[in-house]
C-alpha cells in the first residue's frame, strides 16, 4: 500500500513535468502532432512530374555515337527504369518531411535493450567526411593509403586490448557477420587438425543471430539451459559438452544483463572437450576495461562498433563487427590482414595488407571492411582513452542499476518485477506477466503508450525466456534526470492503466500513424510501389 501511494505521487509529478516539457500527455495523449505529420504520406514516385529534374548531365565532350553502335541493341533496355522525376526543392522537402516521421536518439531517450543506444559524437561525422577518408578508393596502393592503414592497425590494437585477445580482423560488417566469421574460424581450426565436429551450443537466452549463424555454417544447434540465477546451467552444459561440440557461443554479461560468475568453469568445460568459446560482444559496453573476454577464456570475440563504439545506427545500418582471436585461431583469420612492418633503416613504420595467409578462411566481403565506421570508432577511443572507456562502462552499469532501483522504489515491481533479482550489468529484464494478469495490459501496450510520452520503448519480447519481457538498457550517456523522468512515465502509465486499461491498449495516439496492420502486410505483401 505504501508503495502505491508513492507511485501515485510520482505519477502526478510526472504528468505535470512532462506536460510542461512535451506540451501534452493528457489522455489519451495527442501530443506534439502537427497537421503536416498527420497527413497521408505520399511517396516520391507520387510526386513525380514529367519534365522536372535535379541532375544535369555534363556536356557530351566526346564523339556522340549512337548507343546501339557501341553496344548491341539486344543488350539494351527498351524502356527506362521508372524512377521519379523531381527537382531539388521537392527532393529535399520530401526526405526532410520523411525524416520528421522518425524518432531518433538526438531527440529522445532510447533505452532499447541489447542495442546500446549511446550518444553519437558529432566529431566522428566530421573526421569520417574528410576527403582523405571519404574519397579514398579501396584499391588505392599501400604507399598512397598509409594513413588509413595506420588507423586500422591502431584500431586493431585497441580492440585487441579491450578484448584481451591479441589478433584482430576488422573485416566483418556487423555483429552477425562477426559471428559468421567466428563460427567459420572455429570450423577451420578444428578441420585443420582433422577434427570434424557437428554441433554448436548456444544458451536458450541467445540472440537469434547465434542459432541462425550456426546453421549457415553447417552445424546443428544445441540449446543449453539457464539456471535459477540467470546464468548457464552447468549441469546441462556438462551433459551436452562432448567431442562433437565445436563451440559454445555466449554473451557475458548475457542477454538478461547478468554477469555469469561461473565463466571460468564454463570455459574449462568447453575447452575440456576441445571446443572453442565464442563471445558475442553485443554486451561489451558493460565491461570495457573492467573484465576482458580473453581473460575469461574466450577464444573469439566480436565487437559491435555501432554499439559500444558509437557508430550511429543509421536506422538499421551501417555497422561493423570486428573480431579478436587467440593465438590458436590466428592463422585462420580472414584475408587480408593489416600488418605493420618496422623498417631497419630508421624510416617510419610501413603498413600493408597481408594477403599471403594460406590457412585463412578467406574473404567475407569486398575490400577492407567498413572503414568509415573504423574512423568513427577510432576517434571515440582516442577521445576517451583507457580511463574514459572504463568510466563509460562503469556509468552504463550505474545508470542501469539506478533505473532498476527507481522502478523498484516506485512500486513498479508489483506489476513489472525484475526477472532475475541480482545486481545487473548495463541492462536488465523486467517481466510484464503480472501487469498483463492484473491490469490487462501487455508489454506491447506499455511500449506503445511510452511513445506518447516521448520515449522510445525498451526491447520487448526478448529474451524469449522471460514471459512478457522488457529489456532496458539506458547507456552511460543519459543523465539522472532523464532516468528519473522515464521511471515516472512508467509509473504514470501503470497508474492510468489501473483506471482505464483501454488507453494503453489502444496507444499510441500522438505518433504520425497509430498501430499498423502487420497481419495484413504479411498476408498480402506490398513490397514495392506499383507504377
Amino acid at each position: 500500500m505504501s508503495d502505491m501511494a508513492s507511485a501515485q505521487t510520482a505519477a502526478q509529478h510526472a504528468a505535470g513535468e512532462l506536460g510542461e516539457e512535451a506540451g501534452t500527455v493528457s489522455r489519451p495523449g495527442l501530443g506534439g502532432q502537427t497537421p503536416q505529420q498527420r497527413e497521408q504520406s505520399r511517396t516520391i514516385y507520387e510526386k513525380s512530374r514529367d519534365g522536372r529534374r535535379a541532375f544535369v548531365a555534363p556536356a557530351t565532350d566526346v564523339p556522340e555515337a549512337a548507343i546501339a553502335d557501341l553496344i548491341p541493341a539486344d543488350l539494351l533496355r527498351s524502356e527506362p527504369a521508372r524512377l521519379p522525376e523531381v527537382a531539388e526543392p521537392e527532393l529535399v522537402r520530401h526526405y526532410t518531411k520523411l525524416s520528421k516521421r522518425n524518432f531518433d536518439l538526438d531527440s529522445g531517450f532510447y533505452p532499447l535493450g541489447s542495442c546500446t543506444m549511446k550518444h553519437n559524437p558529432r566529431l566522428h561525422e566530421r573526421v569520417a567526411a574528410l576527403p582523405g577518408n571519404a574519397r579514398l578508393h579501396p584499391l588505392q596502393s599501400e604507399a598512397h593509403s598509409q594513413g588509413a592503414l595506420e588507423l586500422m592497425h591502431n584500431l586493431q590494437h585497441a580492440l585487441g586490448e579491450v578484448a584481451g585477445l591479441p589478433h584482430v580482423s576488422l573485416q566483418p560488417s556487423a555483429g552477425s557477420h562477426g559471428e559468421l566469421a567466428g563460427v567459420l574460424l572455429t570450423k577451420a581450426y578444428h578441420e585443420d587438425r582433422g577434427d570434424i565436429r557437428s554441433k554448436v551450443l548456444t544458451p536458450d537466452t541467445a540472440h537469434g543471430t547465434n542459432p541462425a549463424t550456426v546453421t549457415m555454417c553447417g552445424y546443428e544447434v544445441v540449446k543449453v539451459g539457464t539456471n535459477a540465477d540467470g546464468g548457464v546451467d552447468l549441469d546441462d552444459l556438462r551433459a551436452k559438452a562432448d567431442d562433437q561440440v565445436a563451440c559454445l557461443m555466449l554473451t557475458n554479461p548475457n542477454t538478461l544483463g547478468l554477469f555469469d560468475p561461473n565463466i571460468k568453469e564454463i570455459a574449462e568445460i568447453v575447452h575440456g572437450v576441445g571446443a572453442t568459446l565464442y563471445y558475442d560482444g553485443a554486451n561489451l559496453n558493460a565491461v570495457m576495461g573492467i573484465s576482458r573476454p580473453g581473460d575469461m577464456g574466450f577464444d573469439i570475440v566480436h565487437f559491435n562498433l555501432h554499439k559500444s563504439f558509437t557508430q550511429p545506427h543509421g536506422g538499421g545500418g551501417p555497422g561493423s563487427g570486428p573480431i579478436a582471436v587467440s593465438d590458436r585461431i590466428e592463422p585462420f583469420l580472414p584475408r587480408p590482414q593489416v600488418v605493420r612492418d618496422d623498417s631497419a633503416n630508421g624510416d617510419g613504420p610501413h603498413f600493408r595488407l597481408d594477403h599471403d595467409r594460406p590457412k585463412s578462411i578467406g574473404r567475407l566481403r569486398g575490400f577492407q571492411g567498413n572503414y568509415g565506421v573504423f574512423v568513427r570508432s577510432y576517434a571515440y577511443i582516442r577521445s576517451l582513452g583507457a580511463e574514459g572507456l572504463r568510466e563509460a562502462s562503469e556509468l552504463a552499469v550505474l545508470n542501469a542499476n539506478y533505473l532498476l532501483a527507481r522502478l523498484k522504489r516506485d512500486g513498479v515491481a508489483d506489476y513489472l518485477p525484475v526477472a532475475f533479482d541480482r545486481v545487473c550489468m548495463h541492462e536488465f529484464v523486467l517481466s510484464g506477466a503480472p501487469m498483463k494478469r492484473d491490469l490487462g495490459i501487455r508489454t506491447l501496450d506499455l511500449a506503445k503508450r511510452l511513445l506518447d510520452h516521448g520515449y522510445h520503448p525498451p526491447t520487448v519480447y526478448f529474451p524469449l525466456l522471460v514471459d512478457e519481457a522488457l529489456l532496458i538498457e539506458p547507456t552511460e550517456t543519459e543523465s539522472k534526470e532523464t532516468l528519473d523522468a522515464f521511471a515516472d512515465a512508467i509509473v504514470e502509465i501503470l497508474r492510468e492503466a489501473k483506471e482505464d486499461a483501454t488507453i494503453a491498449q489502444s496507444a499510441p495516439y500522438s505518433t504520425p500513424v497509430r498501430r499498423l496492420d502487420e497481419a495484413g502486410a504479411a498476408k498480402n505483401p506490398v513490397v514495392r510501389q506499383v507504377l
Partner: protein
C-alpha cells in the same frame, strides 16, 4: 571525465544510495576476482575534441584520395559525384541516429524510405521483390548463393571467372559453411565461355552466378547463359553494376532469378571500401527465402497509410536456426543515399548518365588503344570500364602515372595471373575528355619510360 557522460559527483552519490551500495566497484562484485582486469588498458590517454580532430586529420592527409589525383580506379567501387543534398539528408539526426524500425509508429520515415528504395531497385533490376539492402556487394553475392541452396539444395555452384574476385572468394568462404562446392566457369575473349558452361552443367548444379558488366568491363550476353542454366533447372544469380542498368536490359527481363550488386556508386562515398550497401532483388517465388529486412505497405487503425517491416518470420529473431539468413540489419543509411541519388538522377538522368559513360568509355578505349604499348585486352562491348594489355610492368606504370597526378586504374594481375599485363580503366562522369587525353599522354610516357628502364636493365 568524458564529455559524453553526464553524471556529476553528486549524481553518482545519490544514485549509489538509491541502489543501496557504497561504490561503483560494488556493482561489479559479481565478477569473480580472477576475471577482474587488474590494470588500466594499454591505450593512450584520451584527448580533447580539437586534438583528436588534428590527429585524425593528419592521418587522413597521408592518404591520396580522389580529391588529390585524377583517378581511373574502379574494379567494384567508383568515384561518382555525390550530390550535396545527400550529405544534408544523411546528416539529419532522424536518419543518422535511430535503430532498426522495431516501433513502426515512430519509424515511418525510415520505413517509407526502404519502400521507395525497394521500388527503385525493383525497377533497376526488373525483378519484383527487393529487400531493404544487405552489407555490400560481394557478401550479397554470397547471400544469393545461400538462397539457391535453400531453394533447391543442389550441391554444385558455378561462378563465372568474370565475377568480381572478392565475390568469388567470399562465395568460397561461405560455401565451406553451408556445404556446396564452388566451380569456376572460364572466360573466353573477355566473356563467360558459353560452351564451357554447357559442358559443366548437370542436375547437381544449383546456381550459375554471373556479373554484368563482368570484371573485365565486358557487357555479357546473358540470354544464352541463362537459357543453358535453366535447361538443367539451376537458378541464375547476376551481380550488377547499378549505373549501367540505366541503359542495359535489366536482368529480370532476361530470366535471371536473383540480381544483386554493390550499391556504392549510387550516392555513396568511396570510404576506402565501406560502408556502402548491397542490393538484393528476386523473382516473386523467392519472397519467403529472401535474406534481411523488407518493408511493406499497410494501414493503421485509423485507415492511414503506413509501412512496417514485413515477412519477419523469415528472419533470425523469430525463426532462429531455421532463418533464411543470420543478417539482422539493412544498410539503411547507405540505402537512403541510394534512393535519394536515383531520385536525383531521375528517369531521364539515369539514361543520360549511362549514355555519357558509354560514349566516354568508347572514346577512352580507342584513345588509349592508340597509345604505343597499349592494346585492348578484349573487344567486347563495354559501358564504363575496359581492360588494356600493356607492354610494360603494370604496377610500375601505375606508380609513374601517380607521380604525375593520374591514377590510371587497377592492375589486373593481382587477381588474374593470366592477365599479368592487364590494366582495368574505369570512367565516371567526373572524368571528362581532357582527363582522358591527359591519361593517354601520361600512360604513354610511363610505358615508354618503363620499356626504356627494362631495356637499360637488360
Amino acid at each position: 571525465m568524458s564529455s559524453y557522460t553526464q553524471a556529476t559527483r553528486e549524481d553518482i552519490a545519490e544514485m549509489l544510495e538509491a541502489i543501496g551500495v557504497g561504490s561503483i566497484s560494488d556493482l561489479f562484485a559479481e565478477i569473480p576476482d580472477e576475471v577482474l582486469f587488474d590494470r588500466p588498458l594499454d591505450l593512450p590517454a584520451g584527448k580533447p575534441e580539437q586534438e583528436v580532430y588534428s590527429e585524425l586529420a593528419a592521418l587522413a592527409a597521408r592518404n591520396t584520395s580522389a580529391e588529390d589525383e585524377v583517378t581511373f580506379l574502379g574494379a567494384g567501387m567508383y568515384d561518382h559525384y555525390v550530390p550535396a543534398l545527400i550529405d544534408t539528408l544523411m546528416g539529419r539526426a532522424e536518419f543518422l541516429t535511430p535503430y532498426t524500425p522495431y516501433q513502426p509508429e515512430v519509424s515511418q520515415g525510415g520505413l517509407q524510405v526502404m519502400f521507395e528504395y525497394q521500388t527503385a531497385i525493383s525497377e533497376l533490376t526488373g525483378l519484383p521483390v527487393s529487400n531493404a539492402s544487405l552489407y555490400e556487394g560481394p557478401s550479397a553475392v554470397g547471400a544469393a548463393a545461400y538462397l539457391a541452396k535453400l531453394a533447391n539444395g543442389r550441391p554444385r555452384h558455378l561462378v563465372s571467372r568474370g565475377v568480381h574476385p572478392h565475390s568469388r572468394e567470399t562465395l568460397g568462404t561461405l560455401a565451406v559453411g553451408y556445404g556446396t562446392t564452388i566451380e569456376e566457369i572460364p572466360l573466353a575473349d573477355g566473356r563467360t565461355d558459353l560452351d564451357q558452361l554447357i559442358a559443366m552443367l548437370d542436375d547437381e548444379v544449383g546456381v550459375v552466378i554471373l556479373q554484368q558488366p563482368n570484371f573485365l568491363g565486358s557487357v555479357e550476353d546473358l540470354r544464352p547463359l541463362v537459357a543453358a542454366a535453366k535447361e538443367v533447372g539451376a537458378l541464375v544469380v547476376c551481380a550488377c553494376d547499378p549505373i549501367p542498368l540505366g541503359i542495359l536490359e535489366p536482368p529480370g527481363a532476361l530470366g535471371v532469378d536473383v540480381a544483386v550488386g554493390e550499391g556504392q556508386s549510387l550516392g555513396n562515398r568511396l570510404d576506402f571500401g565501406g560502408p556502402s550497401f548491397g542490393f538484393f532483388a528476386a523473382s516473386q517465388e523467392h519472397i519467403r527465402r529472401m535474406p534481411g529486412r523488407i518493408a511493406g505497405e499497410t494501414k493503421d487503425v485509423d485507415g492511414r497509410r503506413g509501412w512496417v517491416l514485413t515477412l519477419q518470420t523469415r528472419e533470425q529473431h523469430i525463426r532462429r536456426e531455421k532463418a533464411t539468413s543470420n543478417i539482422c540489419t539493412s544498410q539503411a543509411l547507405n540505402a537512403l543515399a541510394g534512393v535519394v541519388y536515383l531520385s536525383w538522377l531521375g528517369r531521364k538522368g539515369l539514361v543520360e548518365l549511362g549514355e555519357l559513360l558509354a560514349r566516354r568509355t568508347a572514346y577512352a578505349r580507342s584513345t588509349l588503344a592508340a597509345v604505343d604499348g597499349a592494346t585492348p585486352l578484349h573487344d567486347q562491348p563495354v559501358v564504363r570500364e575496359f581492360a588494356l594489355a600493356l607492354e610494360a610492368p603494370v604496377e610500375a606504370v601505375i606508380a609513374r602515372c601517380q607521380e604525375q597526378g593520374i591514377n590510371p586504374g587497377y592492375a589486373l594481375g593481382t587477381d588474374y595471373p593470366e592477365f599479368s599485363n592487364g590494366l582495368l580503366v574505369a570512367l565516371t562522369e567526373q572524368r571528362d575528355r581532357a582527363d582522358i587525353d591527359r591519361l593517354a599522354e601520361v600512360l604513354g610516357a610511363a610505358i615508354a619510360a618503363e620499356r626504356g628502364a627494362v631495356g637499360v636493365a637488360r
